[in-house]
């Protein structure tokens, strides 16, 4: 029982780290319908911003805040400078996926050329460990879980209750009608890119702190798990992304504790496929599915 409780506890920590990014990914995709595989590169780039600031002497949490802002700006810039022209030319969904992959490759490898193919770590003490039976949580992990909870609630509340949040949801499902209501769609789309970039920045730093070392390609390497969490929850649903992250996190940790550490991702992705078989729309469904890219 103690093993189970600790595995679930660890799963929650893993989920918190994945959830920040998964919420960012799902939000941006649902509003703009660009399946942005360069999301991992935004995580990495902002992770490096935090690294440079951190090694210049800044506290890691301050560096994380700076990474959040730069993640937002990078994400916004990628959309404005690269994606928007393609969307204006009417490139379809699949064509856009290829464009985003190209951007990811260019960013990752460009960064690698700049910083070298080696490993980087933040200077950040894990802090005091809190121990409940087998379940050990460091101060650092506690803060990350806190940030994850705060951010996902913030995003959820903003989408649910604020005027711009509703506009974002409306735009996500019917951009033309949103314009008819007077929603400045370009601005709202830009906001979605920015917010998703902020979440990529925070999520990147949280992930890199968690795995303790990272390279110029780490963000992209973990993108699959992040997308898996988003899809599992029902792409487009921030609540779903959190739930998806919890499933992935808890299944992998419980699998590692009880079954076979070697096959824990096999188990997690097995669960993913099983869920999608039963609920193709993910755990939290959205009504409409097919839709063109929002302009």
């Amino acid at each position: 029982m103690a093993v189970f409780i600790s595995a679930v506890g660890f799963g929650v920590v893993t989920a918190a780290i994945l959830a920040i990014s998964a919420v960012g990914f799902t939000l941006q995709f649902s509003v703009t319908n660009v399946f942005n595989l360069a999301f991992g590169s935004v995580m990495t780039l902002s992770g490096f911003v935090a690294y440079w600031l951190n090694h210049a002497g800044l506290n890691i949490w301050v560096a994380m805040a700076a990474a959040a802002v730069s993640g937002g700006l990078i994400s916004l810039a990628i959309n404005e400078a690269i994606y928007t022209p393609f969307i204006r030319h009417g490139l379809n969904l699949f064509g856009m996926v290829i464009v985003t992959i190209s951007v990811a490759v260019i960013f990752d490898h460009g960064l690698q050329a700049a910083v070298g193919p080696t490993f980087f770590s933040y200077t950040a003490p894990a802090g005091k460990a809190f121990r409940f039976a087998d379940f050990v949580l460091t101060r650092q992990e506690l803060i990350i879980v806190g940030i994850a909870v705060l951010l996902t609630i913030l995003v959820q509340v903003a989408l649910q209750y604020t005027r711009v949040g509703k506009a974002m949801r409306g735009l996500a499902i019917n951009a033309s009608l949103a314009r008819a209501c007077g929603v400045p769609t370009r601005g709202v789309i830009a906001l979605a890119w920015f917010v998703s970039g902020v979440l990529a920045g925070v999520g990147g730093v949280a992930l890199f702190l968690d795995i303790s070392t990272f390279t110029a390609t780490t963000g992209s390497e973990f993108l699959i798990v992040i997308i898996a969490a988003a899809v599992l929850g029902g792409i487009g649903s921030p609540r779903g992304a959190v739930l998806g992250a919890l499933v992935v996190g808890i299944v992998t940790e419980v699998g590692a504790a009880y079954w076979n550490a070697e096959l824990k991702d096999v188990l997690a992705f097995g669960v993913l496929i099983a869920v999608l078989l039963v609920r193709p729309q993910g755990l939290f469904s959205r009504l409409a599915t097919e839709r063109a890219i929002a302009r």
Binding site: A7, F10, A126, D210, N260, E262, L263
Partner: protein, 430 residues
């Protein structure tokens, strides 16, 4: 110098060998006129994905013939190295070996046969009664019965056995294992785990990790609860860093028994970032193949290597290469065996290989071909202690190199303790 010229050279060599075949089959095959040259074939990949193996082995052969020819050759014959391209593939290696065997009457020994082609070609050389000194890493040759097969270096699995032996040597009684599930790490995992059990150490945890995960907290917790005195481990930098950083959070990082991967700058950077360089340097015991730079034969090898620049481009790149060093010893051992046998006939001198390498009470220890030749001329028994150290072949014609435990002290790797071939054999169950 360039690859193009290199392959041109190989083409010339192969065509040359074919030319000899044409002559040999006509009239002079049984002639015993003035003594011709002897040939060592460097049988390896010179092209294809493993094209580096050939030059690496050639960098062992050429220095040896410089040494041998300077001492007057073998039984009056000059010796040559002949590169033959196996392409690192059985489909190409088999016809190349057959052509070589059929064509070259002066071929007295083969240096080569790597992991890619050894299984396919060893039976051919066995059939043809030509000694082959192989550097294959396959464990299928651990109990080899082909009498013409010889292997100086340890198989790949010896790394794991050496890590287990290192644990015992460090006085550890509870040793856990943690290996990544990638091919590289899995090469040594089974032999390390088997070694720990065979040496009678407790194995409180044995973990295989899915590499590249975002968390190993459950695994680290299980490891921490198992309370090992040391963890025998090999995993990529990212996986190692994540795992050990989490282990350091849930408990303590015990001694780490690692492999050459841990000496790579990337691994140290990642792990240093994860658990701190102080703790890493304190707990890390790297187990690596031992190439004793201080041995007399090694010094001879390096100077002859520098004298081989004509055939070995940029020779200094090979001077710490264990494979080149072992291939050098292979050629010297074959030459000494011919002297001891008073015959360059492969079928005869093959039986003398152990006689010039095995330790025995009355034997004169020699480190060079010249010294060995002289001692043999005076009717003495010799033991050649080569550039890799003593070469002590067992009944399966496997010698095995020593390993060392190295520690990172003040910015340098220092040998902390040696693990002999015998200690590794105990862990490997030989």
């Amino acid at each position: 110098m360039t690859g193009k010229w290199k392959s041109f050279g190989i083409a010339v060599a192969v065509v040359g060998a074919l030319g000899i075949a044409a002559c040999g089959s006509s009239s002079s095959s049984s002639s015993s006129g003035p003594k011709g040259n002897l040939e060592f074939a460097v049988f390896h990949a010179f092209s294809g994905p493993n094209a580096a193996y050939g030059p690496e082995a050639a960098a062992g052969c050429y220095p040896a013939i410089v040494e041998i020819n300077a001492a007057g050759g073998i039984l009056g014959h000059k010796v040559h190295c002949t590169p033959v391209d196996s392409k690192g593939e059985p489909a190409d290696a088999v016809p190349a070996a057959n052509r070589m065997i059929a064509s070259s009457s002066s071929l007295v020994g083969v240096i080569g046969g790597g992991s890619n082609e050894a299984t396919a070609v060893v039976p051919l050389f066995q059939q043809a009664h030509i000694p082959i000194f192989s550097t294959t890493g396959q464990s299928s040759f651990d109990h080899n019965t082909a009498s013409y097969f010889w292997r100086i270096l340890s198989p790949d699995s010896a790394q794991g056995s050496a890590m287990a032996a290192a644990a015992k040597k460090l006085g550890i009684t509870r040793a856990a294992t943690m290996f990544g599930n990638d091919i590289a790490a899995q090469g040594s995992a089974p032999s390390a785990i088997a070694g720990v059990k065979r040496l009678g150490l407790a194995l409180p945890a044995s973990q295989t990790l899915a590499v590249g995960q975002s968390s190993y907290r459950s695994e680290a917790t299980a490891m921490s609860n198992a309370k090992p005195q040391a963890i025998i481990t090999e995993a990529d930098p990212q996986t190692s860093a994540t795992y050990f950083s989490e282990l350091s959070q849930v408990g303590q990082v015990p001694k780490l028994i690692t492999d050459p991967v841990s000496q790579e700058p990337n691994w140290r950077k990642a792990m240093g970032g994860a658990i701190g360089t102080t703790l890493l340097n304190k707990q890390d015991y790297a187990v690596v193949a031992y190439s004793p730079a201080t041995l007399p034969a090694y010094k001879v090898f390096t100077s002859e290597l520098m004298a081989s620049a004509k055939h070995v481009p940029n020779p200094s790149q090979w001077n710490a290469d264990l494979y080149s060093v072992a291939d050098y010893d292979s050629a010297i051992i074959m030459a000494l065996a011919m002297d001891a046998a008073h015959s360059d006939a492969p079928g005869v001198y093959n039986r003398y290989v152990t006689k010039v390498t095995a330790p025995s009470s009355g034997a004169t220890i020699v480190h060079t071909y010249a010294a060995g030749k002289a001692a043999l001329a005076h009717g003495k028994h010799i033991q050649y202690v080569g550039a890799v150290g003593p070469v002590h072949f067992n009944q399966w014609h496997n010698a095995g190199n020593a390993f060392a435990i190295e520690r990172y002290v003040n910015g340098n790797w220092k040998v902390y303790s040696l693990i002999t071939a015998a200690e590794i054999n105990a862990a490997a169950g030989f």
